[in-house]
Every structure is written in structure tokens, then in C-alpha cells.
């Protein structure tokens, strides 16, 4: 591990030819690779609208096309400064592709750049309508741990937990379905040029679904761990 070189803030003018620039990736004046402007985001970087439904082949094509241009391999003989910019730009491109490729990470990222991502006040708190089932699940988990520790019979407990795991996996699939539907709502709001209040409403819904998803997912992971 080494120390990252310090760089100046991304400028509004090209670091090389000092012209004001409007290019996304390369200076239209001198052709040098540009630092990403501060306000840029993953959607803009890949020249995509801020929508949640993405054609995977289009995303991959954009990613590969930009990889050809931005990858550090292209800058081995360039100046130290240009090499560092290329390294940064290339990592941002890879981070963007990794994030947008994953449908859940994509929603999280969209909400983050829109300033609408709020994680649950208390991540440990169950959504009200799940309280009863979660309570039962935790009880079974405790019993299983006790049985394991005392060498007691675990077979029937495991069976019960497996059933509970299936139940929560199904709930996870439901949440994913609702996320997809709400994502389509978002895209429609963009297409219809809906007002800010309407957009905020969709985003709040997406945010709530993400929190619920992460809660259920944690439950499932914990159960799987105990069942191993």
C-alpha cells in the first residue's frame, strides 16, 4: 500500500492547455484526458440519462468503449500528471460500471446523487408488519444456538428455521418486485418531466423499499449462517 498523490481540484479549464473545456473525457482543444468535473456522476460519465431501466448491452458497450480510451495502459509513456489523471478516471469508470450494472446498487446510487438516500433511523428496527415473524425467527435462532451449545437435538429447530428462511426469501423477492415497479415509476416521472414533488415522492418510496430490503436480507444471511 502506498500514498495516493495529492491533486488539485478538478478545474474548469484544461490542466494542460488551460483552455476552458466542455469535453466529458478529453479536452476538445488539446486532446488530453480531463479530470472529472466535481458535479459529474456515474450516469453522466457513461452518457446515460438518470433512469433506472438500463439496457445491459448498451451499458457494457459504453463501458468497453471508454475503457479503450481511459485505461492506464494508454498512458504508460505520458507525463506523471496525465498518468495520475488517467488512473483516477479509469477507476471512476470501473466504479461507475460496477455500480450501475447492479440493479440494487443502481437505485442506491441514484438516490445518493439526488440527495434522497436515508438509511433507516435504526437499522435493527423491524418494519411494523414483520414484527411478529421477526420475533419468532429470533426466538428460533436463540433456541438453535442453545441446542448447539448444549449438544441437544437441533433437527426440528433447523427444519423450522429453513421454513422461516424460505418465507423471508419470498418476502425479499416481493420487495425486489416492488422495487422494479417503482423504478419504472421513476423512469416515467423523468420521461413525463414530472415536477419535483412527484419525483420526491417516488424517491421516498424507493428509499423505504431499499431499507426494507436491506433489513430482510440481513435476516436471511443470519439464518443461513446458523444453518450452515
Amino acid at each position: 500500500m502506498s500514498t495516493l498523490p495529492t491533486t488539485t481540484n478538478p478545474p474548469l479549464v484544461c490542466w494542460n492547455c488551460h483552455e476552458r473545456t466542455v469535453g466529458t473525457h478529453f479536452c476538445p482543444g488539446c486532446g488530453k484526458v480531463l479530470q472529472l468535473p466535481q458535479q459529474s456522476d456515474y450516469f453522466a460519465m457513461l452518457e446515460l440519462p438518470r433512469k433506472l431501466w438500463l439496457e445491459m448491452s448498451v451499458l457494457e458497450h459504453k463501458f468497453l468503449q471508454l475503457s479503450w480510451k481511459l485505461h492506464p495502459d494508454n498512458f504508460v509513456n505520458a507525463s506523471q500528471e496525465e498518468r495520475e489523471i488517467s488512473l483516477k478516471r479509469s477507476s471512476e469508470l470501473n466504479d461507475a460500471y460496477r455500480t450501475l450494472r447492479d440493479p440494487i446498487a443502481r437505485v442506491e446510487y441514484l438516490l445518493a446523487v439526488e440527495g434522497a438516500r436515508k438509511e433507516g433511523e435504526n437499522k435493527q428496527q423491524a418494519p411494523p408488519e414483520l414484527l411478529e415473524e421477526v420475533f419468532e425467527l429470533n426466538e428460533s435462532l436463540d433456541e438453535l444456538r442453545d441446542a448447539k451449545a448444549s449438544g441437544g437435538d437441533t433437527a426440528s429447530l433447523k427444519q423450522r428455521l429453513e421454513a422461516a428462511e424460505k418465507n423471508f426469501e419470498q418476502k425479499l423477492a416481493e420487495v425486489d418486485g416492488r422495487l422494479q415497479a417503482t423504478a419504472r415509476e421513476w423512469d416515467k416521472a423523468i420521461d413525463d418531466n414530472a415536477d419535483e414533488a412527484a419525483r420526491k415522492q417516488v424517491m421516498a418510496k424507493l428509499n423505504e423499499l431499499l431499507n426494507r430490503r436491506s433489513y430482510i436480507r440481513n435476516l436471511v444471511v443470519n439464518v443461513r449462517k446458523e444453518l450452515l
Binding site: M1, T3, L4, S67, W68, P72, N77, N94
Partner: protein, 613 residues
């Protein structure tokens, strides 16, 4: 700038390769013996010089305490990591080892990067002798599953050997590059790479685009302590037990007899790749001979656990790429150990596909490194390698848990940032612990580095420091910090948990001069000047010989002019110019040499009968 080469720095053997401009194909450079394999063995001669390769292998038997093999197993590791290795390998670890291991050779102590640098320097010399040109840059391959410290140690070794390491390339990816060029493969490719000490599996997608071919790694997995060595260790342990049982002789694993037995057992293993049974006859110190018939079946039963261990990472890598074994279009075998029939069979059954073995499994990684070296050197734009980081990167959080920032199998370069603030008023530092690995607790992951983020005194929660982590195209981590409120960027002083810091390297670079041969150009210049002096002396002497009187005037003038030109060239340090002038003078003195030769022959024959000549 000198030439660039691709180097496979292996556990058992190392190779150097280049891209032949005529054929456009990569080729391995042969060493003095004609073989392209340089055994990764280093010996310290009692006179202080370093011996590498085949000559060092012979010293494994005669001077085992001054000789070391499989040093790659120690790269980037700490003393506590290698306790299990010490039972099986005759490493003499010095008590002075702390964050980096120090190994004793004779009376001297070396770090693993220094020992590796001797191997790299030997390969550099091979290539320089072959090209008759300086070599100063290299692409070096590393196991895909190497962590940050192991990669950094390899890069340090390159630097200590006087090489600018333009890129570290993962071994299976390099192999895919060599095969891709050779076979024009497309689609999804699995590379199964079992080397001397490491195992890697990589799943790649080969994509043809209008700009050229992209080699995109989808996932990688492996075990940096699983290899052909483990098979040899099993064989050795088996033979030791047998000999103990039948002859009551207890082999110390460090002794020279154990080394000799190991060599014989490796030969048996190699022969069993073809033969069904091989009988070992090994003379024992008590005058008896240990005789044992090894069958292929018995060998396979013995090594099956090693082969089974490789299949765990294989399944994990396919799972990460979300692919089934039968979805692979091609499977490639790399590494000497994949010559073992059991491995070929196991891989073929798992993927339901005959694996590729067309390219020499010992050479293919070096060949791929040469391809990548050429891409970087010439700015070749019709091929692009997109590799991944093998291990998740994380930071320690409250309660010793790990928060993952960059997941494994992320395309590199990859980055992540984390926002930090203070917990108490006027807190001036935030401790950050960076880790690599898949486990949930910090104590189960690999510690990469710890550092303290300096914070200006302020009420708790007010400072906002963003720490940026960046894994570069070599898979090596860099870190930087930025004060969000002021926008000020600051560098971070990082103390690696395992490995050399900058001061260590500086000191070693100074020390390495002791072992380093002179710079190639310097060496060439010295040799050329010595040769020039010899020819100038000979010319002066010849001109003074009475027999030179019959030279024509133009011939004399020509000799004088070329002599002056050579003397001029010797003032400088351009060895090519000196050699050119030596050739000129040789041509100019051709007739003179003939005259002297004839008279010398006459003198020699005078008074002798023909039969005595």
C-alpha cells in the same frame, strides 16, 4: 531507454520472454545452458558473490545452508504467517525478522524481495546477453490471488534488480493473453493455473470489438499456498515415513540427504506422468538401499487431496462469475503441475471439455507477459486487458468488524471513499486500519496498513475527512485524504503491515551495488575499450615490424586515420561507436596482418622439416 521484457517470477522456475518483431509472436530467452527455465534458486558463495539458477541448484546438495529455493512463498509475509511452511521448507529465518521476514544465507541476512531481485537480475543478464542491448523495464507476473503486500514485494524486487516494473500482470491472465494470440480464442475461458507454490483460477471473457480484442477478467480465486511443492512434500513425507519404518532412519528435512531424496522423488513423479509404475532405488547411509515401487494409482491416491483442494476456488470463481462449468467455451491448463494426468482428468470431467495444453505450460505465462510488455512499450491499441482485484478491500470498524469498500472481482483500477469525523472534541487523529479479505472480522483478514489521519482540533463531529482508496492496475492499493470543509488534499504516511518501507528500499538499493553487476552499457564500454587497447597495441607493434615496410603509402595513411578515429571514440563511452571503429581498424590492417603472418609462418618453418609442422 533500453528494452522491455516479460518475466515470470515463479516459485520453482523463472523465465524471461520478449515479443519477436519479425514473427509478432512471443518467445522465451534461453540462458547460457540453452534452457529457457531458470530454477528460482539462489546461493551465496563463500566469496560473497550471488549464484542463481542451475549452478545454485547443485549447491542445494553441497551447501544447503547457503542456498534457498521457493522464496516466492515468503514474499509479502510476516514471521507468524509462515510457521507451517517452516516444517516443510528449509528456510532459515533470522530472529531479526519483524514486519518483513529475513532469511539467512551463510553469514548474511536477506529479505525475500532481495533474494527475488537476484533471480530477476539473472534473467535481465540473460536477456541483455541475448539482445546485446540493455534491458531496463519489465512486466512481471504474479499469482492472481496475491494480496497487496505480496504484489508490493514483487514490485520492490524489480526495483532492486534495476528494472522499472511497468505492470504486474496476473499469471492466469497472462496465459490467456498468450493463448488468445495463439489460438484466436473467443468467448468465456477458464484458466486453471497450478504452479510450484500457488494455485489460481481465472474466468475471462474474450470480446472482439471494432477497436480490437478485450480480455475481461470476470472473476478470480485461488490459494497462494497450494502448488506442485505440496505434492512433492506429500511424496517426501511418505518416503520419510517408509524409511523410518523399514530402516529406522529419521531424515531431518534440512539435511542434504533429504534434498537428494526429494530430487529423486520429483523425478519419479515426472516419470509417472507417462509410465504406470516407477521403482525408486535410493542408497541409505547405513549401506542399504531403499527400494519402493510407485504406481500411478498410488501416486494419485496420495495427491488427490491436493487436487481436490484446487476445486474449491474453481467453484467459487465460477459462482462469482455466475457461470456453470458447462458454460465455459474454453479451458486452459497452465503450470508444470498440470502435466499430472490426474489433474487433466479432474479438470476435463468438471468442465466436460478437453482442456487446452498446446502451449508449453512452463512458458505460457512468460509469453503472455511479453505480449503485455509489448502493448505497454509500443502503445499497441488493439488489445486491452481488464483485470480484477482478487480480494475485497475493507476497513476496520467498531467492534473489530470489517466494512467492505471494494468487493472482490472489481475491475481494476478501482476506487472507494469513506467519510470520517471525530468522536470527541479537539480529537487530533483518527486511526484507520486497512484490510484485505473476505472474512467478517478484522482479525481474520489480512492487515495491509494502519495509519493515523491528522485532524485539526474542532468540536466533535465537525471535521469531515474523506479518505480515498484506489487499487491501481497492478492490484496495489494507494490511499489519500481530503478535508471536505477546506477542500485541502493531504497525503497519508502509511506504514505497511508486512513489507519494506521506503527507507528499507533505499538502504537495500545502496547495498545492492555490492552484488549488482555494473550497468549493461557501462560493462559493454569497459569491454570494448579493453579490446580497443589490445588492437591499438598490436597495430603499433606490427607497424614497427620490418616486414611492414612493404605496406603501400595509402595503406599506411588509412591505418593512421582509423587509429586516430578509434582513439577519439575511446574518449567517449559509446560502446557501439568504439566497436565500429575497432572493425574499421581491423579492416584497414588486414593486409598488414597478412604480411606479418606470412613472415611469421616462414620464421616458424625455418629449420624444420615439413613432417614436424
Amino acid at each position: 531507454m533500453g528494452r522491455i521484457v516479460g518475466i515470470d517470477l515463479g516459485t520453482t522456475n523463472s523465465l524471461v520472454a520478449y515479443l519477436d518483431p519479425q514473427s509478432g509472436a512471443p518467445k522465451c530467452v534461453p540462458g547460457p545452458s540453452g534452457s529457457t527455465l531458470c530454477p528460482s534458486i539462489v546461493s551465496l558463495d563463500p566469496d560473497g558473490s550471488i549464484i542463481v539458477g542451475e549452478p545454485a541448484r547443485r549447491r542445494l546438495l553441497t551447501q544447503p545452508e547457503r542456498t534457498i529455493y521457493s522464496v516466492k512463498r515468503l514474499m509479502g509475509r510476516g514471521p507468524s504467517d509462515i510457521q507451517s511452511e517452516l516444517k516443510l521448507f528449509p528456510f532459515r529465518v533470522d530472529p531479526s525478522s519483524d514486519h518483513v521476514i529475513r532469511v539467512r544465507l551463510g553469514r548474511k541476512v536477506f529479505t525475500p524481495p532481495e533474494i527475488s531481485s537476484f533471480i530477476l537480475r539473472e534473467l535481465k543478464n540473460w536477456a541483455e546477453a541475448y539482445f546485446n542491448e540493455a534491458v531496463d523495464r519489465a512486466v512481471i507476473t504474479v499469482p492472481a490471488y496475491f494480496n497487496d503486500a505480496q504484489r508490493q514485494a514483487t514490485k520492490d524486487a524489480g526495483r532492486l534488480a534495476g528494472l522499472e516494473v511497468l505492470r504486474l500482470v496476473n499469471e492466469p491472465t497472462a496465459a490467456a493473453l498468450a493463448y488468445g494470440l495463439h489460438e484466436k480464442q473467443r468467448g468465456k475461458v477458464a484458466v486453471y493455473d497450478l504452479g510450484g507454490g500457488t494455485f489460481d483460477i481465472s474466468v475471462l471473457k474474450l470480446i472482439s470489438t471494432s477497436e480490437g480484442d478485450i480480455y475481461q477478467v470476470l472473476s478470480t480465486n485461488g490459494d497462494t499456498h497450494l502448488g506442485g511443492d505440496d505434492i512433492d512434500n506429500l511424496l517426501q513425507a511418505f518416503a520419510h515415513e517408509e524409511i523410518l519404518a523399514t530402516d529406522q532412519i529419521d531424515f531431518s528435512p534440512h539435511g542434504e540427504l533429504a534434498q537428494e531424496l526429494r530430487r529423486e522423488l520429483i523425478a519419479v513423479k515426472h516419470r509417472l506422468s507417462q509410465a504406470d509404475s516407477v521403482t525408486l532405488r535410493f542408497p541409505l547411509p547405513n549401506g542399504k538401499v531403499f527400494v519402493h515401487e510407485f504406481t500411478r494409482g498410488a501416486l494419485e491416491a496420495l495427491i488427490r487431496p491436493v487436487v481436490d483442494r484446487t476445486m474449491v476456488p474453481v467453484r467459487q470463481a465460477l459462482g462469482d462469475a455466475r457461470l456453470k462449468p458447462t458454460e465455459m467455451d474454453e479451458v486452459v491448463l497452465v503450470g508444470g503441475a498440470t502435466r499430472t494426468p490426474l489433474i487433466r482428468r479432474t479438470v476435463q470431467e468438471f468442465f466436460d471439455r478437453k482442456p487446452h495444453t498446446e502451449l508449453n505450460p512452463d512458458e505460457v505465462v512468460a509469453l503472455g507477459a511479453a505480449v503485455q510488455a509489448n502493448i505497454l512499450d509500443r502503445g499497441v491499441r488493439n488489445m486491452l486487458l481488464l483485470d480484477v482485484t482478487p480480494l475485497s478491500l475493507g476497513i476496520e470498524t467498531y467492534g473489530g468488524a470489517v466494512a467492505k469498500l471494494i468487493p472482490r472481482n472489481s475491475t481494476i483500477p478501482a476506487g472507494a471513499q469513506e467519510l470520517y469525523t471525530t468522536g470527541v472534541d479537539n480529537q487530533t487523529g483518527i486511526d484507520i486500519h486497512v484490510l484485505q479479505g473476505e472474512r467478517e472480522l478484522a482479525k481474520d483478514c489480512r492487515s495491509l496498513a494502519r495509519f493515523t489521519l491528522r485532524v485539526p482540533p474542532a468540536p466533535a463531529g465537525l471535521p469531515r475527512i474523506e479518505v480515498k482508496f484506489l487499487i491501481d492496475a497492478n492490484g496495489i492499493l494507494q490511499a489519500g485524504a481530503k478535508d471536505i470543509r477546506t477542500g485541502e488534499e493531504r497525503s497519508i504516511e502509511v506504514q505497511p503491515s508486512y513489507g519494506l518501507n521506503d527507507n528499507d528500499i533505499e538502504r537495500m538499493l545502496e547495498e545492492s551495488i555490492e552484488y549488482a553487476e555494473q550497468d549493461f552499457a557501462e560493462r559493454q564500454t569497459i569491454e570494448a575499450k579493453t579490446e580497443a587497447e589490445t588492437i591499438l597495441k598490436a597495430t603499433a607493434k606490427a607497424l614497427a615490424n620490418p616486414n611492414a615496410a612493404s605496406l603501400s603509402q595509402p595503406e599506411r595513411v588509412k591505418i593512421e586515420v582509423t587509429t586516430a578515429a578509434l582513439q577519439d571514440a575511446m574518449e567517449g563511452s559509446d560502446y557501439k561507436l568504439i566497436r565500429k571503429q575497432i572493425d574499421e581498424l581491423n579492416r584497414a590492417t588486414g593486409h598488414l596482418a597478412e604480411l606479418l603472418m606470412n613472415s611469421a609462418v616462414q620464421t616458424a618453418l625455418e629449420g624444420k622439416k615439413l613432417g614436424e609442422v
